[in-house]
C-alpha cells in the first residue's frame, strides 16, 4: 500500500517517496495496482458530445447511426460513451479508424462507400447561474470529424 500511495504522488515531491516509487514501480505496474483517482476531478468533464456514424452518399454525408445517452441501450451506454469520449482525446484519436472499421464488419457495410465518425460537442459553462439557463438547443455544437474510412470489400 505504501508503494501504491507513493505511485499516486507526483514525481519529485520528496526524496523518500521517489526512492520507494523507483523500487516499487515494477511491482505496481506488473500487478495492475496502478491507480489514479481523478473521477469528476479536478473538475467534472464539461464536454458533452453526441456521436454520429455517417455514410458517404456522394454529395453529402447521411447519418447511419446516432450514439447518445438516449439512443444507446442502458447496458451499453456507459462503456460506449466512455470509449467514444476517449476517441476525441489526442492520446486515443488514432484508434477512431479501427473503431470505424469494426463498424464496417458489424453493420456488414462491405459494399458501402466511406463512413465517418463525427462528434458534435458542446461545452457546459462553469457557473451554476449559467448552467440553469443552459439549453442544448440554444448552444450550437462544434462538429469534429474523428475519422473517415472506406469499408473493405471483403469482410
Amino acid at each position: 500500500m505504501a508503494a501504491v500511495g507513493c505511485y499516486l504522488l507526483p514525481k519529485g515531491i520528496s526524496a523518500p517517496t521517489d526512492f520507494v516509487k523507483h523500487w516499487t514501480f515494477g511491482y505496481v505496474r506488473t500487478l495492475s495496482q496502478w491507480q489514479k483517482w481523478d473521477i469528476f476531478s479536478p473538475n467534472p468533464l464539461r464536454r458533452v458530445s453526441e456521436y454520429r456514424i455517417e455514410r458517404d452518399a456522394g454529395d453529402r454525408w447521411e447519418p447511419a447511426m446516432t450514439l447518445t445517452f438516449d439512443t444507446l441501450p442502458w447496458w451499453k451506454r456507459a462503456k460506449d460513451l466512455k470509449v467514444l469520449g476517449r476517441l476525441e482525446e489526442n492520446q486515443w484519436i488514432h484508434l477512431a479508424e479501427p473503431y470505424l472499421r469494426w463498424h464496417c464488419r458489424d453493420q456488414k457495410l462491405s459494399q458501402s462507400p466511406r463512413i465517418r465518425l463525427v462528434a458534435l460537442t458542446r461545452i457546459l459553462p462553469f457557473t451554476i447561474a449559467d448552467l440553469s439557463r443552459y439549453s442544448l438547443d440554444r448552444t450550437p455544437p462544434t462538429s469534429t470529424v474523428l475519422a473517415i474510412v472506406s469499408c473493405p470489400r471483403s469482410i
Partner: protein, 445 residues
C-alpha cells in the same frame, strides 16, 4: 524487564497483523466482486471482438502505441479471436464460481489473472469501477476469503453436522486481520487522493461541480428541467463530498490516538461506520442519478469487506429493532440427517439471528417447547413457534421462516398470493411424506 517489553511488543505486532476477525465481510466482498464482475463482463458479450480482439478498436499492430511496453502482461496480446472468446468464457465462469464460492481459491486466481489481462489490453474502455474491481480482486486473492460465505463451506458444514451432529465452530469462519487492514488502507488512498485531485480544480471549491455533473448529457439520468431544479444543492453536496473524502485520512490517525489512550477504543469503529454511511449515501445517489459505470456498485462491495463482527452486530440491532425479543423456535428431528443439514442451511440464512433450534427427539427439550404435541405430529411436519405454545406447522411454518430470513424475503410476497396456501401445503406435504424416515441409526426413503 527487557523480556517483558519485547514480549509486549511481539504481542502488539501479532495482534496488529494476525488478530482473528470474522471472514464474513470479506465473503460478502468476494460475492460482490464475482457478481458485479460477471454482470459487467457478460453485458459486453456483443462487443467482445470490438474491445478485446485485434479486429476491434485496438489492432495488435497498434498495441505498442497505446499501452506501456514494460512491466505489463496480458494474455490477450497477440491472441486470435477464438482464443479471446475462450478466455472471455473462462473469465465469466471463474467470476461466477468465485461469487458462489466453488473452488474459490482457484476460481479467484483465474478470474484475477484474466481480469488483469482484459483490462490491460482494453485500457481505452476502463473507468474507476474497473480499476477498483482489479484492486479488490487482488486483495481478495491474497486473503483467506474462502472461509465464509461459500457453497463449499456450507456443504462442509452440512456434512460435518450429518456425520458428527455438531456444527462447525465459528473460529473456522475467521481470518487474520491483515487483509482487512490492506483494504482499509486502499480505501483511504482512494478517497484522500480523490479529494486532493478535487481541491486542485475550481468547481468543487466554488460549488458548481455537482451542478455540472447532473447537467451532463452523456451520463446524467435527470432531465434538464430536473437538473435545473436541483442545481441549488450543488455547493452543499459538493462540500459534503469533499469533507467526507478528506476525513478518511483520520482512519489512519485515530488508531494511533487510541493506542496512546487519547481517544476511547471505539472511536475508529464509530468513525468508520459514519464514513461508510456517508459513502453509501453519496455512491447510492450517483448510482441513481448518473450512469457512470460500475464504480458505485464496486465501492459498495469494498465496503462489505470493511465490516467486522461488531458492525454486523450493530446492523442486526438496527434490523431487529421493533421485533420481538424472543427468538423463533424451530423444532427439528435430531435423528434425521436431512433435517440436521436443513438446520445448517437455515442457520446460514439467519443473518439477523432470529432463530433458535430445538431437537424434539430430546425429551427435556420437547417438554420445554411442545409438551402438548405428540412425537408423531412433530415427526410429520415442521413446527415453528414465535409464542410459547402456539405453533405454525408445515407450509405455514415455512412461511413464518421466510419472514425471518433475509435471503428468503424475496419469497414472502409470492408465498402470500391467493391460493398459495393450498398449493404450498400440497407441495410441502408431498416433500414431507417422501423425506427420509429415520430411526436411531439410519434413515430410509
Amino acid at each position: 524487564m527487557k523480556k517483558t517489553v519485547s514480549t509486549t511488543g511481539m504481542n502488539a505486532w501479532d495482534q496488529f497483523w494476525f488478530q482473528p476477525i470474522s471472514a464474513v465481510g470479506f465473503g460478502w466482498m468476494r460475492i460482490g466482486y464475482g457478481v458485479i464482475g460477471f454482470l459487467t463482463m457478460a453485458l459486453e458479450w456483443s462487443r467482445v471482438s470490438l474491445f478485446y480482439t485485434g479486429i476491434g478498436v485496438l489492432p495488435h499492430e497498434m498495441l505498442g502505441d497505446v499501452v506501456r511496453s514494460t512491466w505489463r502482461f496480458s494474455l490477450l496480446d497477440g491472441a486470435g479471436v477464438a482464443v479471446v472468446w475462450l478466455l472471455y468464457i473462462l473469465l465469466l465462469l471463474s467470476l461466477l464460481l468465485t461469487a458462489l464460492g466453488l473452488w474459490t481459491r482457484l476460481s479467484l486466481l483465474v478470474s484475477v489473472v484474466l481480469l488483469f489481462s482484459f483490462h490491460e489490453y482494453a485500457m481505452i474502455t476502463l473507468d474507476g469501477g474497473d480499476t477498483l474491481m482489479r484492486l479488490i480482486g487482488f486483495i481478495l486473492l491474497l486473503s483467506p476469503c474462502h472461509r465464509a460465505m461459500t457453497v463449499t463451506n456450507l456443504w462442509k458444514r452440512m456434512e460435518q453436522v450429518r456425520a458428527t451432529g455438531t456444527d462447525q465452530p465459528e473460529q473456522e469462519r475467521e481470518m487474520p486481520i491483515w487483509p482487512y487492514r490492506l483494504l482499509m488502507w486502499q480505501m483511504i488512498i482512494l478517497y484522500v487522493a480523490s479529494s486532493v485531485e478535487k481541491f486542485t480544480g475550481s468547481t468543487w471549491r466554488d460549488g458548481s461541480a455537482v451542478a455540472i455533473t447532473i447537467h451532463h448529457g452523456n451520463f446524467s439520468r435527470l432531465s434538464a428541467g430536473a437538473a435545473d431544479m436541483l442545481a441549488w444543492t450543488s455547493p452543499t453536496i459538493g462540500w459534503f463530498v469533499l469533507v467526507t473524502q478528506v476525513v478518511w485520512i483520520f482512519l489512519l490517525i485515530v488508531p494511533v490516538l487510541q493506542w496512546l489512550r487519547i481517544l476511547p477504543s471505539s472511536t475508529q469503529n464509530h468513525l468508520k461506520r459514519a464514513l461508510l454511511l456517508s459513502g453509501l449515501l453519496i455512491h447510492g445517489s450517483i448510482f441513481i442519478l448518473m450512469d457512470v459505470g460500475t464504480f458505485s456498485l464496486t465501492v459498495m462491495a469494498a465496503y462489505a469487506g470493511l465490516l467486522i463482527a461488531s458492525d454486523f452486530e450493530a446492523l442486526r440491532k438496527v434490523f431487529n429493532r421493533g421485533s420481538k425479543k424472543d427468538p423463533v423456535v424451530v423444532l427439528f428431528d435430531g435423528r434425521c440427517g436431512l433435517c440436521r443439514r436443513s438446520v445448517v442451511a437455515l442457520k446460514a440464512c439467519d443473518w439477523l439471528r432470529r432463530l433458535s433450534f430445538a431437537n424434539f427427539r430430546d425429551e427435556s427439550i420437547r417438554k420445554k417447547y411442545a409438551p402438548n404435541v405428540s412425537l408423531e405430529a412433530l415427526d410429520k411436519e415442521i413446527h415453528v413457534t414465535k409464542t410459547k405454545g402456539k405453533f405454525s406447522k408445515g407450509f405455514a411454518g415455512f412461511r413464518v421462516l421466510t419472514k425471518e430470513l433475509p435471503p428468503l424475503w424475496i419469497l414472502v410476497p409470492l408465498l402470500h398470493l391467493p391460493g398459495m396456501e393450498y398449493v404450498g401445503s400440497w407441495v410441502y406435504g408431498y416433500i414431507a411424506r417422501n423425506r427420509p424416515r429415520c430411526t436411531d441409526d439410519h434413515c430410509t426413503l
